[in-house]
Amino acid sequence: MHELSITRSIVESVVDRLPGRRVTLVNLDIGKLSGVEPEALRFCFELVAAGTDLDGAALVIAEPPGRAHCAECGSDFELDALILLCDCGSADVRVRSGHELRIRSVEVA
């Protein structure tokens, strides 16, 4: 799974931004439509973080839901999967959120 690459990117990004700082907690946004599985990410994190400044850090994952806007009828609705269809029948749907793959913040010792 790509979660290992994603996890490696998280650890590298934090180490690059905060060289030499001991990180105790990482806050992530992993959107429901992002294609990344939070549980797989948690599994990888402990292994990837081992031996780095993030070793033993807690992982807090927020999962913003998918939200979409229909250009046809103007309604805003929740999107469970990437099936871009409004109840009105229109496929002219814009995804507003749910794609997030973001490191929000970290806590340092």
Binding site: L18, S34, F43, L82
Partner: protein, 262 residues
């Protein structure tokens, strides 16, 4: 190591130039932009997780543009016909082509492409399940495409992982074949939602299958309403001239800038 599918480490990645000595050049990895660490206990980063990959992908786009080359990221499940499509394209399309092959193991696909008469580089990802922008940079430098080329990256056969990683491509093309059944776009929407073009391959087999082209098209449209759609048979040739026209338009920078393909 990921327990889900055993995918692993970049350290196992190998780049091989078939027909040459396998010498490859180190990629230009870009540069780091370290910030001053905040003194506060909580440090706000607000950083995209894939920022580094996306940064390297932009480097690839700049490198390609300097050579007037375009890059097609070709993705599908294993066995959908990516290599067969490329073999026929090499034989029939009047375009300068280059191919970067991505597979976990073997040089089999690169040898097929070389036998078809096209410059090719094989990237073996080892345990990895997708290509990323860094591997692509290494592949591009090893391939050293001549100016004006269409470089096709045949990504690792996988409908899940490659979808998230920008390689620096100009366009994303996804192949689904009729034998996979009609429901793949609904099961793997992430792959289809970003596609500029969807090729429906093996249409010559439709008379033998309990699936119709309409069913497939309906499901592709549900997740990728604006993607181009071309039914083709890479082995029999049906529909392939439309694919070649699409590539030609992509390779022509004047037309491409004003009327983006797909």
């Amino acid at each position: 190591m990921c327990a889900t599918c055993g995918c692993g480490d970049d350290a196992g990645v190998r780049v091989t130039t078939v027909g040459h000595d396998g010498h490859s050049h180190a990629p230009d990895n870009g540069h780091d932009h370290p910030d001053d660490p905040d003194r506060a206990r909580t440090v706000v980063l607000e950083q995209r997780i894939l920022a580094k990959n996306d940064h390297l992908a932009e480097h690839n786009r700049t490198w390609l543009a300097a050579r007037s080359c375009v890059l097609v990221n070709l993705m599908s499940a294993p066995g959908s016909g990516k290599t067969s499509l490329l073999e026929r394209t090499i034989a029939e399309a009047a375009l300068p082509l280059g191919v970067i092959e991505g597979d976990q193991e073997t040089l089999v696909d690169a040898q097929r492409i070389e036998a078809a008469g096209c410059p090719v580089v094989q990237i073996n990802t080892g345990a990895g399940c997708h290509l990323d922008a860094d591997m692509t940079a290494r592949g591009l430098r090893a391939l050293d495409p001549r100016p004006g080329s269409v470089v096709v990256v045949e990504n690792v056969g996988n409908l899940v992982c490659p979808a998230l990683f920008d390689l620096g491509e100009t366009r994303r093309v996804v192949i689904m074949s009729t034998t996979e059944g009609p429901d793949k776009p609904l099961k793997y929407p992430q792959m289809f939602v970003g596609a500029h073009l969807v090729l429906i391959n093996k249409v010559d087999l439709l008379p033998h299958l309990d699936v119709t082209l309409d069913q497939i098209v309906t499901n592709v449209r549900a997740v990728a309403p604006t993607a181009g759609l071309l039914p083709v048979s890479a082995t029999r040739g049906e529909g392939m001239t439309h694919w070649y026209r699409w590539l030609e338009r992509l390779a022509s920078p004047v037309i491409d800038e004003r009327h983006p393909a797909g």
